[in-house]
Symmetry: C3
Subunit: 337 residues, 3 copies
C-alpha cells in the first residue's frame, strides 16, 4: 500500500469499471466507484471496491468531484465518460484524469480522426464524398452512431440512392464496406518507458448480426431481418504471429503521429478496430482512445499480457501499474491532466 | 485435507466430471469417478481422480451406491444424471446429493418451469397455444428434446402448418423465435452466505448451425441443409457491463421465487440460457438447475470468478468450496439431500 | 538453470515463436530467435528472448546453423519451417531438432497421410478419383494449398464440371464436403512417459468466411463474394466431455500407427483438424505434425492443460518440459534428430 502514497483509483460504475477497480486493488490502491442509483446493487457486490458514491444520473458527476479531489482520487476514463458526460465535461474535470484530454477532439471528429490515421500511414477504408460515384459496396453510418444503431449497407449506387431516402440521420459518412473479419487490438502505450504493448485481442459479439449465420439462407429470406450491430459482449482471439509485427508498427505510428498532432500525444490504453482482408491486410475502421470493453475478457490475464508479465495483467491493472510507477518516480504530472 | 473430515466428492464420468473432480481435489477432497466401461480409459488418465468405480451402464448406478455411502461420498449431479438415470432415480438416491432434489420437477416440466420464470418476472418468449394464430417466426420443439434434435422453424402460420405434418413428436411447444444472440450465464447461489455469484459466461458451439454462416448464401441454397443444434462444445464470452446488473437481478429473482415455489429453493450452480435482442433485452429460453457444460471452459479460472477469488475458481471448484465451508460450520445438511 | 545443462531453445521468428521461447524461458532455458530483418523489431520487444540472430531470408537459415550448434541450441520446428525452408532443408539440419523428421514425408504427401489416418482407423472424408460420379457436395483443393487459397466448392457433378474448367491448379483432390463444425485438437505425445495429452482446443478464424454469416443472405447475393479461408487468428473452444474419450483414442491410434509406418513414430505436439457432424462423429480433415498456431491462445494456460499441471502450460512450454526431462534422464537422443 505504501507505493500508492494515499492516491485512490476512481471511475464511473459502467463499461470496464470492474476490471479497472479490480486491477487497481491488485496493485494496492484504494478504489472508488461512482455509480448511478440503478447500478449501486451491482457494484456493492464486489469487495475490491472500497467506496461507492451514489449519484442519480451520470451527468451529476460534477457534484461529487470535490469529494474525489479530497480523496486524492485519480479518475480512469472509459467509454461511458464521453457517452454520458460529453467531451466538454470531461475537459472541465479538475480531479486527476488518466490520459490526454487533448486527444478527445481528435477522436470524436471523424474528419480529424481520419487525418490522424492517414498521417500515421494506417490503412483506412475509402470514403465517398457527396456526388462521388459509388463503385463498390458501402456502409453508411450516421455521425456519432453509438451502440450499433444508425447504419445501413448498400451494394451499389442504385441501392444507396434508394436507401438514403429513408435514412433519418442528417450527418453521415459513406464508406467502403471492407469484406474481411473484424479483430480488435488492445494497446497500451507507456509514456514513462516510451514502449507500446499489445495486451489482448478480441472480437465483438453483436446482436443480431452474430446470430444471422445460424439461420439458413432460405429461412432468412422470408424473415426480412434487418441486420443490427449492437455490442452486447466480446470473445477472445489470438492473431496470426506474422501479422503481429504490422500490428505493433501500426500502433507505434499512431502514437508517434499523435505526438505531432496534439500536445503530448496519446498515452495509456487504446484500441484499433480492424478488418483483416483475405489478402492479410488490415483496414482500420476506428480508433478508441481509451480502455475498450473487449478487455473485460482478460481480468484474469491474457496470452499477450503474459508475454510481458508474470502476473495476471488486464488493461485495467496495467493502468494501475503505470500510475504506481509514476508515483514512485514522481512523474504523476506526466500521465494525468 | 483436515478440512474435508473424510468426505469424498463423487460424480458420474461424463459432462463436467473432470472439472468437478479437479476442483474437489484442489480443495483437498478425495475424489471418486463412477464411469461406464467405455469411459474408464478416459478417466484413468487424470491423477486428481483417486478412485474409479466401473459400471456397465449409467443405469447401474444404484449398484454401487452402498459403496459410495461407505466412502462418505457426496455426489455432485450434472447434466448426465437426469439424462441417464431419470428424475425418479435421482430422487431415490440415499447417498449425499448436492443441490435440492425438489427443483427437479420444476425444471423438467415445461409448464412449471415457465410458471417459475414468469413469477420471477424473467422475460420469456411468447408461447402459442393450439389454435392461436401464429403472427411471427416460431421455433417448434418436442418435449424433452435433448441434444438439439427435435426442432423446426416456421416463419408464419402457413409454413407452420406445412411442417407440423411431418413432425414426429406427439408433444411439442410452439414458441416465438427470438432474433438475437445466445449467451449462457453461469450462476452459483450459496445457501450458506445467501449470495449469488456469476462465475462465467459462454455460448454453445452447435453442429451444424455454427458452421452454416461459413457457407455463402448462394451455395447454401442448393445444398438443402437442414439446421441442427447439437451441442459439441462451448466458447467463452464476456457480457457488456451495463447488462450485468440485470443479469444478477434476474438470477436473484429466480432464486427468491424458487424459495416460494419449492421447499428450500434452488442452490448451487444454475444457468440461464438467454437470447439478447438488438434492444439489449434478455429473453430467457431455459433454466438449467445444475452445473452446465459451458463451465468446462473455465477449469483454469474465468474473468468473472476472479472478481471474487484470488485463485482459479471453476464452477466445479466453487461447489467443493461450498461443501468444505458447510463441513467447517457443521451445515452439511443444509446443502445436501 | 542447472536443469538445462547449457542447452538453449531456438526457433524461427514466426508462427508460434513467442509461445515456444516464452515457454522455454519459464522452464529455465536460454532462448534464441532466428528472425528475418523485417521481424527483428517484433522479437526485440520481448525480454524472454535472450539472443536474436538476424537473417535476410528464412532460406538463409543454414548460414547461422553453425552458430546454433556452438550455442548448444535445440531447434523447435513449427509451421514456418516446412513452409519457408522446405522438407529437404529440414531434413538436412544438423543442429538438434525436436521431433521425428521421418514424419515429414508422411505428412506432406496427401496419399501417405491418408493411408496413415486410415490405418489408424481415423474417420476421413470420402475422396473422389478421376471419373468417379460426384454424388454429394465436394471441396476441391489444390495440392500443397497453403494459407487458404486454392479451394472451391461444388454441390454436385454439374457444378464441379463447370468450376473445374477455371481452376488453375494442375494437381488437386476432390473430397466430400463434410457439413459440421470445425474443431482443432492440440495433442502432445511424450516418448519419455509414453502418454498422450490433449493440451488445448481451438477453431481457426478465417477471412473472409468467418464474416460471411454477418452479412444477411439477401445482401450476400448481390455482392458476389467468393469465400476464402485464410487463417488470420484463432479462438478457444471446449469439447463436449462425452467426445473426449474418442478424441484421446483417435490420437493414440494415430501415434501407434505412426510407430508402425515410420521408424520411431510421431512425438511431441500434433493437431487433428476435425469436423464434427450433427451425429457427433468426428471427420478428420488433416493432421499437422507439429505445434499449430491455435496454441497461441494458451500462452497463459488452458482448461485442458490445467487437468495435468498446476502451472500455466502452453504447448510451447510443454515441449521445453519434455526436453528438460530428457536432459535430466540422459535421453536427449531419444527426442532429437
Amino acid at each position: 500500500m505504501a507505493g500508492t502514497k494515499g492516491y485512490k483509483i476512481a471511475t464511473l460504475g459502467s463499461h470496464t469499471a470492474l476490471q479497472i477497480l479490480k486491477g487497481a486493488k491488485d496493485e494496492g490502491f484504494q478504489t472508488i466507484c461512482v455509480a448511478t442509483s440503478d447500478r449501486v446493487s451491482l457494484y456493492n457486490r464486489f469487495k475490491f471496491i472500497d467506496k461507492l458514491y451514489e449519484i442519480s444520473l451520470f451527468s451529476d458527476f460534477p457534484k461529487i468531484e470535490e469529494k474525489l479531489i479530497k480523496d486524492k482520487a485519480i479518475v480512469i476514463p472509459h467509454g461511458s465518460f464521453v457517452a454520458y458526460l460529453g467531451i466538454e465535461n470531461n475537459k472541465k474535470m479538475k480531479v486527476g484524469y488518466f490520459g490526454n484530454k487533448k486527444v478527445l477532439d481528435w477522436e470524436s471528429d471523424r474528419v480529424k480522426q481520419r487525418k490522424w490515421m492517414q498521417e500515421a500511414n494506417v490503412p483506412v477504408p475509402k470514403r465517398f464524398k457527396k456526388g462521388d460515384k459509388i463503385d463498390r459496396p458501402v456502409i453508411v453510418k450516421s455521425y456519432g452512431a453509438s451502440g450499433g444503431h444508425g447504419y445501413f449497407f448498400a451494394k451499389n449506387q442504385k441501392e444507396f440512392e434508394t436507401r438514403i431516402k429513408n435514412f433519418k440521420a442528417r450527418d453521415f459518412i459513406v464508406q467502403e464496406y471492407v469484406i474481411g473479419v473484424p479483430l480488435y487490438i488492445h494497446y497500451f502505450y507507456s509514456p514513462l518507458t516510451k514502449t507500446l504493448e499489445i495486451l489482448s485481442i478480441d472480437k465483438r459479439y453483436e446482436t443480431n448480426v452474430d446470430s444471422l449465420g445460424r439461420i439458413p439462407s432460405q429461412n432468412q429470406q422470408g424473415l426480412g431481418i434487418e441486420p443490427s450491430f449492437v455490442v452486447v459482449g466480446n470473445s477472445p482471439l489470438a492473431l496470426r504471429e506474422s501479422l503481429l509485427a504490422e500490428a505493433f508498427q501500426m500502433g507505434e505510428r499512431v502514437v508517434a503521429t499523435s505526438q505531432e498532432l496534439m500536445d503530448g500525444g496519446i498515452w495509456g490504453p487504446f484500441c484499433l478496430e480492424t478488418i483483416i482482408t483475405p489478402e492479410q491486410k488490415f483496414s482500420i475502421i476506428e480508433i478508441s482512445c481509451r480502455i475498450v470493453a473487449g478487455t473485460n475478457l482478460f481480468v484474469n490475464g491474457s496470452p499477450y499480457a503474459s508475454l510481458y508479465y508474470d502476473k495476471e495483467v488486464s488493461t485495467g491493472r496495467r493502468i494501475a501499474m503505470e500510475i504506481k510507477e509514476a508515483i514512485r518516480t514522481n512523474k504523476l504530472k506526466k500521465i494525468l491532466n
